[in-house]
Each structure stands twice: as C-alpha cells, then as structure tokens.
Symmetry: C2
C-alpha cells in the first residue's frame, strides 16, 4: 500500500509499504478513507524537530474497519470509525478519568506500540490500531459519508477536539467573553467551540482575510488583526475596558502565549493547546498577581468525540470547513508545501 | 495609639502613632479588637524582602467601626467587621467580577492610598479603611465575640479565605482526592476548606506532630511526612496507584511547587496560594503533557467571607484553631520570634 514517509526537512515521499495485519487480539485494521496534514506535522517538515530516520507520518484519520482481533468487543468489521490522534487503552486510571492522552499505554501513529510492533502513520491507505476498543469511535449509521461530512468527521480526530479542549480549558460558557489567539485550523475550531459553548463575544485574532472570513462564519463577533500591545488594547476597547474572561491559545510560541496571557482579565482563564515550542515557562508571579488560571494540553479527543459527533451529524456544527484544499494521497508532498507556505489552512488527503 | 512598626530584618517595635481619623467621605475608622502575624510578614522580618524605611505592618484584623464618612452606606458605627487583607473599591470591573484583590483602586494596609493618605497597618489599635463599603464585611448580630469566635472570624481576613481559594482553584469537590502541600496556617485552612467542599480523601503533607494533629482535626484522612520522590510515591500508594485529583500549594517555594506539580494526576488541578518566592516559572511542557490546570493567587477574601462566615457562625467550621498562641499587642516582637522559630503556628495579637 502507499504510505507517506518523512525523510528529513522538506522531504516528504509517498512510498510502498506492507499492508497492515492483525498482530494482537485487541487490534483492528482500518482502511483509511481520509487523512490530513496537521500544523504539528510541519515541525519535522521544517526541521524544528529532527527526523533521525525515515518515518511514517500523519496522526489524523477516519475510515472503515476491515478486520478485528478476537478480543475486540466494541468495533466490528464494516464500522465507520474516527481515530483520535493517539491510541489509548481505555482501561487505565488516566483513560477512566477521561484523560486518554495520558494513557499508561499510549501509542502514537507512525511508531511502535508497547509490544514492539509497528504502527502505521495516518497518511496512508490503512493502519493497524493496537488498542481498538479504547481508541476508535464508531460513527453509527454512517457507511459512506459525502465530502462535507467526511471533512467534518475527520476534524474530530484532532483539530475540532483540540479547539474544543482549548475552550473547555478556558472555561468558556454562556455569557463569557472570549479571545482566540491563532487562526490556524485549531484556532478556527476554537472559535466554533466557543460559539457552541455559548460564548457571548468571540474575538478572533487573525491577519489573514480568508481565515477572518471563516472565523466569522464559525461565530467570531470581532476580528483583531493587531498584535502585541496594540492587540491587547484593541481587545480591551472592544470589551468595554476589561480584558477577556476566556482566552484560547492555539499556536504554541512564546509570542502567542504572551499575547494570550496579556489578553486575559484578572480572575480569567487561559486554555492552551498549542504544542509548546520549547517554552517559555509560565510566569508564576504574573499568574499569581492576576489570579489567572491556565489549563490545557493535548486534547482527549476520544473523550470529546461523542458529544461533538452528535452536533456534526445533526448539522449544528460544520468544522470540516477548515479544509480548504483536498488532494490525492499521492500529492502529499505538495500538501505539505501548501500548508508550509500558508497557501492552505488545512489539506485533506484522499487515498 | 500603639502600632507595630518594622524597622528592618528582625527589628519589630511597638510605637506610638496618631489615632486615625476620617479623611475622605468613603472612609471608616475601625478599632482593632484582634490582629495577627502572617507567614508573609516573616519575609521582611527575615530580610527576604527589603524594608527601606520603618513601616507599619500587619494586614489581618477584625474590630468595631468607630466612625464613618458621609458617603459610607453599608457600614455603620458600632458594626463588628472583618477586614480582608487588602482594601478594595467594590465598583470597578475586577471587584464586580469578584476578583477584589485585583481591584483597580487596590490599597494595602500599612501604606498610602491612591490619594496619598496614610493607611495604618493591622497590627495596631485602630485603622482608617479608605473604601469602607467595598472592603469591610459586617458580622451581623455579633458585638463582642468570645475568644474562640474572635479567632475564627480573624482567619476570614486572610488564612481561611486563602485556604478556601486554594481549594476552589484546585477544583476540590465531592469525591475528589486532595493533597495539601504546606502545613502552615494556610495549608491547615486548605485542609479544612477541602473537607468543607466535600473532598473524599485529604492527604496533608506535614512533618510536625502538632500540625499533623490539627490537620487531622480539620479533616485530613492521611498524613505524609515524606517529601520529594518519596512523598510522591507515598501519595500514589495511598491513592491506589494514581496521583491526586486536586493539589493545594500553600507555601510558595520552588520545592513546594515542584512537590505539588508532581503530586497532581494527569488531568488534575493545582491551586496555588503560596506567594511565589521569586519563581520558579511553571514548566509549560510538563503542564501540557500532563493536562494539569493551574490556578490561584491572592484570595478574594471579600468575595469569600459571606459563605465562610455563615459556616463559622453556625459552628460548622472552626478555623480559629490555627491560632495556637495569643499575645498582647505589646509583645509583637516576641510574636514574630515565635512564628519565625516555628514555636507557633500563628499568633493572635490583642491590642
């Protein structure tokens, strides 16, 4: 089968690999019907994270279950499933607490599981899912989703669940004022999540016209293109002299975290889901002085999918709009280029 | 009148000062019936914070209103009142949000208000309260509290409100498991607050027998004397292999924050109220990886007092037990020595 392999910075190739098979009785094999490129895939692509040897890449996929091991109970052959961006057991204390991303038996896509068996990356034709019952979410009643539904289902694998996690971590709720820092797919999904949770006012910080438009479509009431001091003052002005109750940090850089911290009112909440790019550490004295609560991290997509899926299926939310480009899997290298050069918000790959 | 003045490290004197008078129409003058020494008063006492010139000290007091300005509405002469550890306006956006400690017109005791007028410290015979309506909380139906009630009312000024803030910030609630790092008056009040909020299991980290006993009286189900790796493993063992849902950091040092972070389970909450002693900054990568939410800061005592006061008055909680020593105001220097040498948990001063 074809699979996307990263060989080094800027070097993405679609190569032939063995088709996956059931290895252990708790496995499932899923034929991928759609996967995509994540902002975090650009880190090894840009060389920010080293690639020591050629490695299968991609961690977001949906598809159809082709085979299951003897001990798989909750997933059946023919089921249409969403795979969260990590593989989790479903039975350890962390999974039982709903924090599946801290699973004691966590496995990443495109790596090896705890038994030393190879796990395919998501940007390919098929994947062996090691802990199928603890990982996959079945989409009841769906067998062949159309393009729009395919796109929205795929966002639940990562970006919509992550935007939702940012909003939940920032304590978004009815009547709250919200600032979203970052206008990538996650930031845009954060806007949608904030709207869904009842926020009264949603300010999207964005400098790109296409993303501003989508932010508005997702529920942003205001756009702030300014950054730094100017951005903070714009937020304060828009909110009548006070900063935001809830701020979603959806980038992961020093600048974005600083922008987010400074946009949060005293006693407010900051939810951060941007993978921290080597810091900075959080200024404890500032948090103490302002009584700001900070939470976030990797989104427990497995935990969130059921409630978000319901809203996708009944058409309440349409997060799939973050995919502005669709390409065949064979064009994965071009997909990375388009994302890297910001010609695309997010690229969907069809095997 | 007599007032406690700090002249420099280890140099506490009780001196004569002018009796306070109403300066502005929003002032009240309160005759202090009880004040006390705070763990944070030990910072200038130990020279950790510099004392540039002799300065009135103390920020916790209760007493009787002796006079009020023409525009004071909610406080009357003869009222018995609790003063939170800072003076706040009650009308700015931060106060309206309940975050009185971030008041736009914040004034500290033993300093000058925003109009340049002197404000007495709490460890004296009387204090001018600049923003009386926004600051003081009247204790209805009480005129001359006995010693036990005096002690408990006085804790609402700071330590009990602060312990409660730690518990609230750590998301303590029914069924949650809790670790309290720090066995000073605030940590002990944190135990009591956790119990009051319905925690199922409360582990107090303490190495002092008298404090362990009070922690148990306040609701601790377990005591862990070990620290560092050993302390973390004891917590994990006591909780059946998982770390705590909620951790209260009630010290403010690098070691205590580290202990608190490492005692929190993935997806758990850390509430910190120990004034950060110069760091450390919070490790953002660790918080991200573990999905730990961190909140806290100075407690909005003004906001919390009504609900806590109710429980004090009906005897549900007795936080005044943290005062193990009572001294006359004239012995303030000895009170500081007793606190500094850990011969006392907390000293109450009677003018």
């Amino acid at each position: 089968m074809r699979a996307t392999i990263i060989h080094g910075p800027g070097d993405i190739r679609v190569e032939d690999r063995d088709y996956p098979e059931i290895v252990r009785s708790t496995d499932a094999v899923v034929r991928v019907t759609a996967s995509c490129v994540c902002g975090s895939d650009l880190w090894p692509y840009r060389g920010v994270r080293p690639t020591k040897e050629p490695k299968a890449i991609g961690h977001e996929f949906i598809g159809v279950v082709e085979s299951v091991g003897a001990d798989v109970r909750d997933v059946s052959v023919g089921d249409f499933v969403i795979a969260p961006f990590v593989d989790s057991c479903g039975t350890c204390p962390q999974c039982l607490n709903g924090v599946t991303v801290a699973c004691d038996h966590l496995t990443g896509w495109g790596s090896t599981d705890e038994h030393g068996h190879y796990v395919q990356g998501a940007q390919g034709e098929a994947v062996r899912v090691p802990q199928a019952d603890g990982t996959l979410r079945v989409v009841d009643g769906v067998t062949e989703p159309d393009d729009a539904l395919t796109a929205s289902l795929l966002t639940l694998s990562d970006v919509m669940s992550t935007g939702h996690h940012a909003a939940v971590s920032a304590n978004v709720g009815p009547g709250r004022t919200v600032v979203v820092v970052g206008d990538g797919a996650v930031g845009l999904c954060g806007v949608l999540a904030a709207k869904r949770l009842g926020a009264e006012r949603i300010i999207a910080m964005s400098r790109h016209e296409d993303r501003q438009a989508l932010a508005r479509e997702f529920g942003a009431t205001d756009i702030v293109a300014e950054r730094g001091d100017e951005g903070v003052e714009m937020v304060r002005e828009l909110l009548g002299g006070v900063l935001a109750d809830s701020v979603l940090e959806c980038v992961g850089t020093k600048e974005s975290m600083d922008q987010a911290l400074r946009s949060t009112r005293p006693g407010g909440n900051l939810g951060f889901v941007g993978v921290p790019a080597g810091g900075p550490e959080l200024p404890v004295g500032y948090l103490f002085a302002k009584n700001i609560t900070v939470g976030g991290g990797m989104a427990p997509a497995h935990t969130y999918i059921p409630e978000l899926l319901k809203d996708v299926l009944d058409g309440t939310i349409n997060p799939g709009l973050v995919f502005d480009v669709v390409m065949p899997l064979g064009d994965a290298a071009e997909a990375y280029r388009a994302m890297d050069e910001r010609r695309a918000i997010k690229v969907l790959l069809k095997p």
